[in-house]
Structure formats: structure tokens, C-alpha cells
Symmetry: C2
Subunit: 162 residues, 2 copies
């Protein structure tokens, strides 16, 4: 049974392990692959950000963040980012975190959710977002340098929560 | 004669005056209108950001920032933001800063430039970006709460520098 809850400081090691694995692979997120543990955790737990973990039998298998995508007159649109541990892929953890984040975003009063940077080669993520009602509303030509595919497009995805 | 140069700490007052005026109007930028001088300057001079001012006879009439839009595998795309003092509008200051920024972005090795959040009611800015070769590559529905027009669309604009 997957349990999703707000992250605590005691989850830092588990979060960093997942974060490091994903950023080192370098094929889905625009983080500096040399980012330090301290910088990564500062980003993941930064101010005005809700940080969650998904755990299976007290083993952390995923983490996500939820926040306003812009301040002030743009703060009614949420943004989220999700990471699933490599050894927990294909078990529906990403989908459950995404559904949880949509529910949390509604609860927090957001009117919409936006993903700013979905790498076009990340087919399973795009498929999942589309199943959850997100649409591609923008295409950034060659905006991601993929370790094997070279410069590839990036999508902006969006869905209303109203 | 307009002169554009890197900003120094001595330009802080002039930059804050322009920043405050624009953010208080609340119709073009998604900043918290209650942002403090300290927060605004920390943002405008933050790490990995090039900060410039445009001066006319040693009077600062505009300012802009230039930086990578994303870290790591997204760092070849630049992002910029421009602000022109209200009493210097219509004099071509925005255009000259934009041309300067494109030249600087090329010099710094960026392959493209992206604006993440162009409010669709900001017709003069959109017109200028299009004249300078930017295209609308995305539309974020209702992503900006305009003080008079209500929720309005926001554009993502992009141009190659190759």
C-alpha cells in the first residue's frame, strides 16, 4: 500500500538518493548533474514549496513538490515536479503522486497546474500527464540537451483545476 | 545617447525605483506587488545573472537581466527580463536593451532565448519581441491575473540565436 505524506527532515537521505539517481541520468530534468546534496535539498524544500514523499512499507519510493509557478498575479497556477526511485518504476507511483498533487493543488486553492519543462523524449511521463488531463500548450525547440539524443524539444503542459 | 552597461551596486536605488513602479502597476510582471527593496534587488542581482542598466546622460532609464533559463541540460537557452522607467517609455529604450541582450546572449554562447511569461495584454512588448524575431511557442490559459482585465493568457516566446 502506497502512502503519500508531507516530507520531514528525516526523509532527506531517501530524497537525495532518488534525486541524485535521476539527475545523474540527465535525461529528464534540467538540473546540473553536479548539483550537491545540500543544493538539491535546499531546492526541494525551498520556501513556499510543499514537499511530499510516497512510501511503500516505510520505504520511500518517490517524492514530489508542489508550489505556485509564479508569485503575485501568477500565483493561482500551481507547478509540480515528481521523482520516482529507479527500482520502483512501473508500479504506478508516479500516477498516484500526480493524482495526489492535483487533489492537493485544488485543496490549496490553485486554479490550474502547469509543467514548465517536460522533455519530449520522456514518453511515459507525457502519456501519464495526458491521461490526467494535461495538454501540451507550448513547444520549446531544442531546449534540452539529451545525453544520447542531442538537442530535443521540451513541452509546456497545462490543465485547469476548475 | 543611450549607454548600456553592466549594473553596479551604486545603481541599486535607480533599479529599485524602476522595479517598484512596474511591479506596483501589476499589469506586466508576475512579482508580488508587496516585494521589498531587498528581495527585489536580490532577485535582480542573483547568482548566475548578468544585470545591465541603460542610461541617458547618466540617468538610469532602464534595466535588464540575462541568464540561463534552466540549469544543466537546459542551460544553452537564455532568459531575459527588461524594465523601462515610466518617464522614458516610447523612446526605444526597450528595443535597444533587447537588441543588446541578444548580442550579449550570443557572445555568452547561448543558442536561443526564451521569455517564459509574456502577458498577452502587453501588446507593445509582444509587438517588439516579434519584430526582433521571437515567436509565440506557447499559450498559458488565464495564467495572469490582470488588475483590470481579470484572468488573461500568457505567452511563451522563443527565438533561436544560431
Amino acid at each position: 500500500m502506497l502512502n503519500i505524506r508531507l516530507a520531514a527532515e528525516a526523509d532527506s537521505d531517501a530524497i537525495w538518493n532518488i534525486f541524485y539517481e535521476i539527475v545523474a541520468a540527465g535525461d529528464t530534468y534540467a538540473f546540473d548533474p553536479g548539483i550537491s546534496r545540500e543544493e538539491a535539498l535546499a531546492y526541494w524544500f525551498r520556501a513556499n514549496t510543499h514537499t511530499y514523499i510516497a512510501e511503500n512499507d516505510r520505504h520511500v519510493v518517490g517524492t514530489y513538490i508542489l508550489r505556485a509557478n509564479q508569485p503575485g498575479p501568477g500565483s493561482h497556477v500551481a507547478n509540480a515536479a515528481y521523482m520516482v526511485a529507479e527500482d520502483a518504476r512501473g508500479l504506478g507511483v508516479g500516477r498516484k503522486m500526480a493524482e495526489h498533487s492535483l487533489s492537493e493543488a485544488r485543496r490549496l486553492g490553485f486554479r490550474a497546474m502547469q509543467f514548465n519543462f517536460v522533455v519530449s523524449t520522456n514518453a511515459s511521463a507525457i502519456d501519464l500527464w495526458q491521461q490526467l488531463g494535461f495538454k501540451i500548450v507550448g513547444t520549446l525547440p531544442g531546449a534540452f540537451r539529451h545525453p544520447r539524443a542531442g538537442y530535443v524539444d521540451v513541452y509546456v503542459m497545462f490543465r485547469s483545476l476548475l
